[in-house]
Amino acid sequence: MPTALRSKGFIALALLPALLLFVVFVIIPIFWSAYYGVFEWKGIGASRFIGFGNYSEILQDPIFWRALKNNLILVISAILGQIPIALLLALVLLKNSFFSRFIRSAVFMPMVLSTVVVGLIWGYIYHPQFGLVNTVLEAIGLESWTRAWLSEPHINILAITIPINWSNIGPYMIIFIAALQNISPEIDDAANIDGAHGGKKLVYVTLPMIWSTVIVTMVLCISGSLKAFDHVMVMTHGGPAQSTELLATYMYNNTFRVYRYGYGSAVSTIIMIISALLIGINYLLTRRKAE
């Protein structure tokens, strides 16, 4: 064995680059934003200490609450949209036939596209004049349903959930397929002998067997939805009239459009707290259910 001293030197040197980079660019900014959050600061000139002034202003800003609501809409649409569709696809695409492999790769494909490309394409699909959605609606005689999908408040945030779900279903599907393939054939046979088929088998046998995977995907949906930024930034910039603002775009717009660095830092701290809360709540809720 190399001497203990040489081991220590190796440990320190091997760990140092990763640790240093991670602490400087990930951990320190968190504290930095908490610190700047208590200042009124325009980015240039002197900053002024205002205590919790930014925080109370944020909590009183209706736009902040709208942004939070929009984020929650994304979370709910991800949990209700991505997980069931992914599970359904996984159930029917379980076999490794050529057909199901082809469908799987098609479903997964949007995941490798840049979010900017996804946002731009869907921006065109929703275009009021030549967009695919309105064209199809007109073709099947539903002219009254056509609209400017990304401009009308209340509808536009729902319209935005579709491309996000569209591109994120693939990985969940693959996760479910892996989980389903792990169910031992004996259990499957036992269920068949006991007369469990179709929906019954799904609810009483299959779902409980993969419940831990469902929880994992739910946590991923929550954290993924809180990260949403690119799609909205590309499709609407959070507009019109801030109707599609998300927490992250709210932070971005306040910091880099109107140059309120202190305020933006406070928002970023709040995002951190909200994510921690949501992930914690989900953890507690699903843990109880799993028991």
Binding site: F10, L113, S114, T115, T269
Partner: protein
């Protein structure tokens, strides 16, 4: 190629009638699946046909094949959008970040999976926390910090944060994989007179090829497609990456649809090619990464 939805154990007692119903259902299921596949692929197909149209053609027959295939669109988009430069920047930034992520991540993963030392638990917990931090919430403080470090508008403004944010996943994947390598391998290498660096470089890294592939794929896709960091940390035209150039291009040439589509087609082709070649590894890698992350 037949997709059988019935299981061997269930079919033995079926009457011919039920078989017929099942076959019908399976056919219907296939149709729905094909419909879903079209739903995921059509936007991309539409992007490519639109990229080769004149604007007039695009407006008049947005969903038909091009009347004339306008290859010029692609060249014009390439020049006007500075796509060549953007692709060079994306390539450089992505490759450097992937290399750094691999080097630092594997080293740290090795130390954390093999050695016992005082602050090990703290270090592991720290990296673990990194998996939960929402990336965008650090945009503002990172911007302010890098402004003071004079890092904004340099390649470092992207390479360093990319690597830092990818390290937790890389480290956990590496730790998990290295735990499965038997200790005897190292002991044998030690007897042959290798130090820790030798063991790591000559024995461990070559054994880690599968996980190196996973980490690289994950990192490549994340860095290549990143928009938010580039948007906030990069301002100068010379340093813009592909997604950023694309977003700005569509703002600037918003009404020249076929040109914008041409630029998008250029940006999409590399990822599609990589996906077609490596799709199995990409699927597995992204799933492994997302579960850990």
């Amino acid at each position: 190629m037949e997709l059988r939805t019935t299981r061997a154990t269930g079919t033995t007692m079926d009457s011919p009638n039920r078989k017929l119903v099942r076959r019908g259902l399976s056919g219907l299921g296939k149709l729905i699946l094909i419909g879903y596949a079209v739903f995921t692929l059509y936007p991309l197909y539409w992007l490519f046909i639109s990229a080769f149209k004149t604007n007039e053609d695009f407006f008049k027959r947005p969903y038909a094949l091009p009347l004339v295939w306008m290859k010029e669109n692609i060249f014009r988009a390439w020049e006007l959008g500075g796509m060549g430069r953007a692709m060079l920047n994306s390539t450089f930034v992505t490759l450097s970040s992937v290399v750094l992520t691999l080097a630092f991540g594997l080293l740290a993963g090795y130390v954390l999976s093999r050695f016992q030392f005082k602050f090990k638990k703290v270090a592991v917990a720290l990296f673990m926390a990194g998996l939960l931090i929402p990336i965008h919430s650090t945009l503002v403080p990172l911007f302010l910090m890098m402004k003071q470090m004079n890092l904004l508008n340099t390649y470092g403004a992207l390479i360093l944060p990319y690597t830092a944010f990818e390290l937790p996943i890389a480290i956990f994947l590496a730790m998990g994989y290295m735990a499965s390598i038997p200790k005897e391998v190292e002991e044998a290498a030690m007897i042959d007179g290798n130090g820790w660096w030798g063991i790591f470089g000559r024995i461990i890294v070559p054994l880690c090829t599968p996980i190196v592939a996973t980490i690289s794929i994950l990192a490549f896709l994340r860095f290549w497609n990143d928009f938010s960091f580039a948007l906030v940390f990069i301002n100068s035209q010379e340093l813009k990456t592909l997604p950023l150039s694309l977003a700005l291009f569509s703002d600037g040439f918003g009404t020249d649809y076929s040109l914008t589509m041409g630029a998008m087609a250029i940006a999409v082709i590399p990822t599609i090619l990589v996906y077609l070649i490596l799709q199995d590894q990409i699927m597995k890698g992204m799933v492994a990464g997302s579960i850990k992350g």
